[in-house]
Subunit: 334 residues, 3 copies
């Protein structure tokens, strides 16, 4: 494996293999599997789980990682192409990325989208401008429109809470958040659930429909897997018989990148805060997922987050285990 | 060992065992003892020695560590319970602690007290609110009222500079510092010296007496060990025949948490700066200890710090060795 | 090897040995060579390559590193000697350096010069005030006037691009930069090229001549090696038949430390930006080197940096390989 960029690049069988490896590595530690191997982690956007889980994963396999972010005492990182560098930043990613990658056996890059141009973000233009700078194997640690590590972990989490996932209803719901957040997790989550053959419903207020290309890609995956993908703004319809409520906020999409319009829409949507009432017509064993970080009592009520439906902590732990499998495939001896 | 929270939880014999292990690991490196093991280090308060010595300790034993602090490019960490998270911080410790801990075989947490409510700080309320969030073994890397890693290292340091420690006089002295500092080190140091059966004197200006529960806990330990615990504001009496002068500043305690009153008291106490005169009636081999960081020529005069009495550097080095023993006990194979 | 401070401390044969080891370690990984060994990395000045390459080097050899910089959540680091510490910084390097070093098997220190007093900077006074505080083996990760890790990597890079290096012309050229930069890289580079017996020309505007002691030290090295060292402000003369153009900006030296005078001089020198025209009378295989970070279209034009002459990425990668050899020599088993 040279690239781990999009779960959609892998077949259901290949994903199954990866997760079997993840489970095997959990029960059969291999603390020398990646001895002497180096993973570079470049964070152009903030992180907690990704930062911690990749470092932990490398240590568990006997390798090591190096972390670079512009917050560190480095020279400032310029990302804009073709700029005359007479400002604050003394280093350009055109050098930083290939240099860091040249020290490593693989590089993970996190760079959220700029949320200015939808086509650019859907194509992960900025992210791929960086990956094009190096031949080192790379891992997408969240780009404008993808987050395959999250989706692989979520796939594993679904296997752990529900048997016969393909028959279940999966609701991806927008929630209120004071900020306009990236499309990466909703895009990746939608496609993941569609690949699993689940009955997927995207629940979101008007103005926040996921862009058509994302819906169409997911619908194509659902067709292959025997699942379905629909969307609605009706909470009751969406939650009816749901087995999973996956909560995530994202930016307004009607006029993508228009921050003031987004804020105007969002201002009226404080009631998109998940409380126990949301689950009234869901299945009794319906579980709550969220990729974290979550704003307590803003996105989700505290009693739901701390209650028995929530599986957000084991979901986060699966990040490490899923990534161990990816790293083992990418860096392990053949 | 599942918890390393308070040296008082261990018997003198158990501490002796730990320090024999520390010495053994120093002379007999075991660079694969903790292969594949992960120590998470969560710093909600600043650190130098703790940060560096724990990472070094894990490397020496073949494992690795992950460091998380709110200064990093993470999402901001909210610590207040029950808050509606509509402010800057996007992540709550209620998720952050169990998630980070779930990646690790043990977690070390540093969180100084808020110094608002004495009873809360004496009970380490905030610290234990965090440790209650995870079943992962944990290490207290300094809470409101404890610092067992420092005390274990100090115990070792005492063994190295004085034979027959139990017969010696140990002076824990307040010193001037421009800021109001936590009670953790004085509390832990007092108890450690009492456990060793030393003649312990707490030397401090009026208004800075250590809280009664701390004195009583130490007196109980002294009773068991055959030592004694007294306090005074009289420098000459305190230092008479002293073998150890352990210097540490702390917050005013008469009206704990009243910052302006603390500053008023402190303003008059600039002469609580340790110089060579302090040692005039101490034993000639009296040594100077300090947990560091130390403000030169404010807490302690430069010539004393750089002179032959000072053992602050080997004392700091013992942090690593003591912690190696704790980590080996906590994470090593049985 | 106890000290790696100056490439001039080593003979050409010893450097050859180090680089043979570097090549050997690249083709024959030794992921347990430094098991359990700790490298401390103290950054008092910013870094990207040094930070990343040393960490990667230690991981590749099976050891680990600890990184400390004042930007981290530590207590603030005071560097001024003899100061009364009643300000912001709570910790002095007089404790920090020996403590950090005591946790490690070797310590790397980066501390740029203050650029106030030329004699102090030429003697690396501040840097050696720190190394004098510890007996731990140390590595100069860039001081006021030296950067031996860069020079060792550059030596290796020259071997890779040109056969018979000793016959070639090496031009070290000043370039425009909005800031007044340290002398470390030009000083170390000049001496390295002189040691190799190359025909070295320093090309710089008036007011930016390298200080006489640096030129004389390089001339002495050239005498030994059969090379030569000259300087000029004439671009065409300098580049005539050049095989290497090594670009680096540095501070004005006529009135060293006079920042406003430096800025006055510099303001007129925007045309010291390397473009393809500079190479018009160089050899067709003339290569561009730069230690990075580089300000695109300010120091060097984008098309040159991205063009076939540029070897800045492999040059940066050699940092890791060269340092692996140094670390193996310093910390490996005999």
């Amino acid at each position: 494996m040279k690239v781990f960029n999009d779960l959609a690049d892998f077949s259901v069988d290949e994903i199954g293999e990866l997760l079997r490896l993840a489970n095997y590595l959990e029960s059969h530690p291999q603390p020398t599997a990646l001895s002497g191997k180096v993973l570079a982690l470049l964070f152009l956007s903030p992180s907690l789980r990704t930062l911690a889980s990749f470092q932990a994963a490398m240590t568990r396999l006997g390798g090591g990682s190096i972390v670079i972010s512009p917050d560190m005492s480095i020279h400032g990182l310029e990302t804009r192409p073709g700029i005359v560098m007479d400002g604050v930043a003394a280093e350009h990613i055109r050098e930083a990325v290939p240099v860091i990658a040249s020290y490593a056996d693989a590089i993970g890059i996190r760079a959220f989208g700029l949320r200015k141009n939808l086509a650019d973000d859907l194509a992960d233009k900025d992210f791929h401008a960086m990956t094009a700078l190096t031949d080192t194997p790379y891992i997408n640690m969240e780009s404008a429109c993808n987050h395959p590590c999250q989706s692989l972990a979520d796939w594993k989490t679904l296997d752990e809470v529900h048997e016969g996932v393909a028959d279940k209803k999966f609701v991806l719901s927008w929630s209120y958040h004071p900020k306009s957040l990236p499309l990466a997790v909703p895009a990746a989550t939608l496609h993941m659930a569609a690949m699993r053959g689940m009955k997927v419903t995207v629940l979101r207020p008007d103005g926040f429909a996921l862009p058509a290309p994302l819906m169409e890609k997911a619908q194509a995956a659902a067709k292959l897997s025997g699942g379905s993908v629909t969307e609605t703004n009706n909470r009751e319809d969406a939650l009816q018989d749901a087995s999973i409520l996956y909560v995530k906020s994202w930016a307004a999409t009607d006029d993508y990148g228009n921050a003031s319009e987004d804020m105007n829409l969002r201002r009226e949507l404080h009631d998109w805060r998940i409380d126990e009432d949301w689950f009234s017509n869901a299945r009794s064993d319906c579980r709550l997922m969220h990729c974290l970080p979550v704003r307590r009592d803003v996105e989700i009520c505290e009693n739901v987050l701390d209650g028995p439906r929530s599986i957000v902590i084991p979901q986060a732990r699966n990040r490490m285990l899923a990534q161990m499998a990816v790293l083992h495939e990418m860096l392990g001896k053949r």
